[in-house]
Structures are given as structure tokens and as C-alpha cells.
């Protein structure tokens, strides 16, 4: 099988980690019977400054027509408002209907806590405040701006369903490799703020409960947590959580909070997942402060490559990458500065390639 992968480095260190991710794909053992072809695609703030759009049509079209999946690096946000600029990754998620943003975090070297953490946030990726329907009016006391938060039954149902499926597949992986996780049964925690937003978050909550009460999910323990308490609990007992499902904005916030628990954003991958497409995307930003120094941590990208492969049905290839990455981290000889080490991006890449 040959998979065609779009490469969208974006800005800043995106241009360092995405080429490293490509190398990992190219170096997978031939026994996997998996080939890759690549196409370079533009998006980001630099692209915006050159062309007037942060997400050229060509990028979207090529992904839709030619590609099986993609890797997205990072984009810079302008530090003051720039007319006409808007985030290409948010647009891409919507245009390709990549309805789920999946962000696993797992304790490893450099972690700040004793107990093993092994959780994944499953974030709705197409609606909520991210519909970006805003307006501003000039009132008697100055400007008043409004934004729409939209929550639909359809999107809530499918995000809860994929959260349930992920909980079951995590359980299957745990069952096949006893001792690798402290979780004993699959659990999904529904996060919302329905005590204030009874209609929108109320709809999310009820729809998620309903989707997760399906027969096939009967082995899953379903809980819920108000978003502010969720952040509190995430800090106090992160090891308790397995799958956390949330509307878009809460998922954005919670997944960054979860990343903080495992030491560095440079370790945390994500996948933007649709029905037949997945984009791997490291959770970190474009990090202008270290751009060009060759010391950006490529681990989040390697894990995003693996996560993309999982959602493209290539779990064996993904497992190879996870094992190589864990080997690199456990060994601890080649760690980038964000992890307290001195290695360059290239050295981490070389070490991981050796372990593939």
C-alpha cells in the first residue's frame, strides 16, 4: 500500500520538525509493506504575508484530491490584529471535516509527577466558538462584540462515538500488553459547563451520554465533569483519567493542561481525524524564540506521525514509531533542551531512526 502524505510545515519550527517526521515515514521497515509519497503544501502566516491568504485553495484541493493524510507543523499568530488573517489549521479542520482532535498524553522521562498518567483528550474540532461568527456593534457605552457558540447534536454525537471507540481500542491495546497501563477498564469523562449553558453544553452532555449508552459501549464507565472542576481534577489526580471528551474550546484548554503534566509540549502529539483522513499535528506552536537553532523537539511530530498512521489503519507501523520514541526517551541520551538535554533535532532524529 502506498500512502500519499501532504506536508504542511507552516511557520517557525514547523519547518524543522515536519522534514524530520517525513524521514521517519521514509525509514519504516520494508517488512511493513508500506510506501509513502509526499507533496509539499503551503499554509501559515508567512504564506499569508506572501499571498494574502493563510490557507491557499491549492493546499485544500491537493489534500482532498490526492492525499490520504497529512502532517501539519505549526503556525505563528501575529502579535497584534492583522486584517484578513485567520488561523489556517482551524480552517483546515473545518474544510476537511476533521471532526475529532485526538491528543494522548502519557507519563515518560522528564515528567513532573510520580503516578503514571495515561489519558487522551478527544476534542470536537468543527464547531463551538470556533465557528468564528462574530460581530461588533458601537453601543452607547462603547463597543460590544458578540460571538456565537454553536453546539449541534450531530457533532456532539459523532465526537462522543469516536471517544467511545478510542476508549475500547485503548482497552484492547492494554489487554494485549498487560502491565503497560494502570487503567483496568475503559472510561470516558464528558466535560461541559451545562450548569451555566443549559442549552448548548446541555445538548453536548445529553447527546454524548446517549451516544455512549449504545450497546457496543456497555463496557465503558461513563462519567461527567464540569469544565472548571475538570481542570482542577486534571491537576490533582491526572492518573485517574482515561478518555476525556469535550467541546472544541474546553478541549483546547484541557489538552494544553494535560500536556503540562507530562513535562513538555514538545512531547505531545495530536491527530485531526475525519472519516477517511487524518492530519498529524504536534501540539506545540511555531516557537519563534528557538526557530533556526536546530534544537526543536521532534518527538511530538514523530508521535503525531504515528497517530496519523493509526487513524489511517496502520497500527503496526504506528507501534514501531511509538516504541522507537519511547526507547529514545527512556534511554535519555539524546534529549533536546526543552527536556533538559543538549541534543539537536537531527541527533534525536538519528537516534529514533536507528531504533525503528
Amino acid at each position: 500500500r502506498t500512502l500519499r502524505i501532504g506536508l504542511i510545515p507552516g511557520d517557525g519550527i514547523g519547518r524543522e520538525v515536519i522534514p524530520a517526521g517525513r524521514k521517519v515515514l521514509e525509514s519504516l521497515p520494508s517488512s511493513l509493506n508500506l510506501k509513502f509519497s509526499f507533496v509539499d503544501l503551503d499554509a501559515g502566516f508567512d504564506t499569508f504575508q506572501k499571498t494574502g491568504t493563510a490557507l491557499p485553495d491549492k493546499t485544500v484541493d491537493t489534500l482532498k484530491k490526492e492525499c490520504d493524510g497529512a502532517l501539519f507543523g505549526a503556525v505563528s499568530s501575529p502579535s497584534t490584529k492583522v486584517a484578513g488573517y485567520s488561523s489556517p489549521i482551524v480552517a483546515l479542520r473545518k474544510k476537511l471535516d476533521l471532526f475529532a482532535n485526538v491528543r494522548p498524553v502519557k507519563t515518560t522521562v522528564g515528567s513532573s509527577r510520580g503516578n503514571p498518567i495515561d489519558l487522551v483528550t478527544v476534542r470536537e474540532n468543527t464547531e463551538d466558538l470556533y465557528v468564528k461568527e462574530e460581530r461588533t456593534i458601537e453601543g452607547p457605552d462603547g463597543k460590544v462584540a458578540e460571538a456565537i457558540k454553536r453546539i449541534s447534536e450531530r457533532a456532539s454525537s459523532r465526537i462522543a462515538t469516536i471517544a467511545g471507540e478510542i476508549a475500547l481500542s485503548r482497552q484492547a491495546i492494554r489487554a494485549a500488553a498487560p502491565g503497560t497501563s494502570a487503567h483496568t477498564k475503559p472510561m470516558v469523562t464528558i466535560t461541559h459547563k451545562s450548569n451555566v449553558l443549559s442549552q448548548t453544553d446541555g445538548l453536548f452532555r445529553e447527546t454524548a451520554r446517549k451516544a455512549l449508552s449504545a450497546e457496543k459501549f456497555s463496557s465503558i464507565h461513563v462519567e461527567e465533569q464540569i469544565v472548571d472542576s475538570m481542570v482542577y481534577k486534571l491537576f490533582r489526580q491526572p492518573e485517574y483519567y482515561d478518555v476525556i471528551v469535550a467541546p472544541n474550546l474546553y478541549g483546547d484548554i484541557l489538552s494544553d493542561g494535560a500536556a503540562a503534566l507530562v513535562g513538555s509540549l514538545g512531547l505531545v502529539p495530536s491527530a485531526n481525524v475525519g472519516d477517511n483522513f487524518a492530519i498529524g499535528e504536534p501540539c506545540h506552536g511555531s516557537a519563534p524564540d528557538i526557530e533556526g537553532l536546530g534544537i526543536s523537539n521532534p518527538i511530538a511530530t514523530f508521535r503525531s506521525v504515528a497517530l496519523m498512521l493509526e487513524f489511517l489503519g496502520e497500527a503496526n507501523a504506528a507501534a514501531k514509531i511509538y516504541t522507537a520514541v519511547d526507547g529514545n526517551l527512556d534511554d535519555g541520551k539524546f534529549l533536546t533542551p526543552d527536556m533538559g538535554g543538549k541534543a539537536t533535532t537531527q541527533q534525536v532524529l538519528d537516534d529514533v531512526l536507528k531504533r525503528l
Copy 2:
């Protein structure tokens, strides 16, 4: 001076901690020349079940006409949707125009970290998604619900202004008591998500920047942080932050996250502050699991009493309470179970009264 204080215990352990808070006020040393009178007021889920409204008009009227300040305990949220019920504290904040929710956290006994944490979140308290303007339509793919997030220049300006004033007064207190804090200059961090919500959060950001650029705030270091990064940073280097100012919902989430850093929600106070009124409110909930056992932690309430007094212009009385509470915690002999101790609410109260 006599202050008239409304007492609104609400539900659950609110009925244990608010009477304890009253005792603290009654026991302040007479040298302060401060007297109190009290009026008991209803609100909460029990009130809703008895009367059909969670916030009786009488409660609001009495606060407006008779009182200088109030203490609010906690309210239970129904575990499934109950028609007609909505949170009385959210309504109270709006009806009394208590535009700022001030939540200080400071490292003390039982803290989970080494570095001293000394920060306060200043949360806008009247708008954002808390305007609760929602609607639901029945679409071709099921229900679609929408909520309005409203951000005004007026509310953003006054919340940033009070955040600046709080930063200055914290600095003055630090200057008067060297060695009590690691902060060397006042700092305000503006939190928003203007990379996605350019109009609403963009307005918050710009207005806050403008308000904080006033001459009187020239000694303050002003920064900003996107809300997801803010949660990340809050977990990674909480000791760095001084004053964090945020729109309503982010403030709700961030203040719970900050509370997690200092050991127990049972320690964290808040004040809902308006132009001439303040309601002290512990950050914890009604805790139905421990209701009636007499072991709820009254510290958050005592500190909320002090915070209320500060905003009513009684800083000396507030300082007495803070010192007594810190004495109790440092001593560590009378701690409630949430702090790893065995003391009852009454024992903690008695110990604090002795120290007043």
C-alpha cells in the same frame, strides 16, 4: 462603624461554613471599632425546590437596600436538567453588578509544589457566555443550540482597571512586609483567545491593554497569554504570575486550576466585587458527599470574609483574619480531612478564633 452583612448559606456545606464565617466577624477584636449586624437570606437549589425560584426577590432587595456586604456559601447543581432552575450566584453577580471576581491563591501548608505561589485571578463577572442567551433550533440533522458570548468595552475596561489597582495594592502590601513574597514588581497578565476570537477576545485584549496603559499603572509590567498556553504555564511555572485578568469563563477555569496548585479548594476564597458592595464566597462547591459530617474546611470562607472586608475598606480587620488563618495552617494541628488532618469544622473555627 457598623456593617450589615447578608448571610446566604445556600446548600450543603454552605450551611456549615457560613455560620463559622459569621463567628469570625463577631469575634474580631473590639480595638478595630467595627461592629456587625446580620440578616439571613435564602438562595440555592433547596430554596428553588421549596419556592420555585433559586434567588428570591427578597434576597436581592434586602442586599440592595440594607446590606454593606454579604457572605455566600455554595449551591448544589441538579445532576440532570431541571426546568426553570438557574444558578443564583450567577444571577446575583449580575443583579448587584458585582463586576469582578477576585480569587487569590498563595502557597501554604499542604501545597504540592516547592516554589512559593502568590497569584490572584481577576475574573470579569457579568458577561461573556454567562449572559446565558441561548436558543435551540431543530435542524435537518437534529438539534442545534447556540449561545452568545458577549464582551463589551465597558466591562473589559473596568475589569482591567481593577486588576491594575489590585496589582498596585499587592505591591504596596509586599513593600510594607519584605520577604513575604517572591514578586519584585507588579505584573498583570491579560488572558484571551484572540487568535481565534478576533472580535470578542480581541476587544477584551485591546481594551485591557489600553486601560492598563494609564499613567497610574506605569509601574506595572503588562503581559498577555492565550488561554490554552495560560493553563499550560499556570501548571509549569505558577510562581511567575502575580495578577491574571480574564473574561468570565476563562477566569472560572483558570481560578480552579490555580486552586489545584495550592492543595485544596477548601483553602481558596473569592470576592464578588462591585462599586460599593462585596460578597465573599468560598471557591468550593456544596460538597454533598461530606454534608452534615461537620468536617468541611472553613478556611476558604474565613479568607472570603477577609477579602470582603478588604473591598469594604477594612484592610486592618482583614489582616487580622489572614494572620489567624495562616497561624492555624502553619501550626498544622487543626486541619480538616481535605488537608490530611482530622479536625472538625468547629475545631478549626475555635483555633482561628483563639488566634484573632
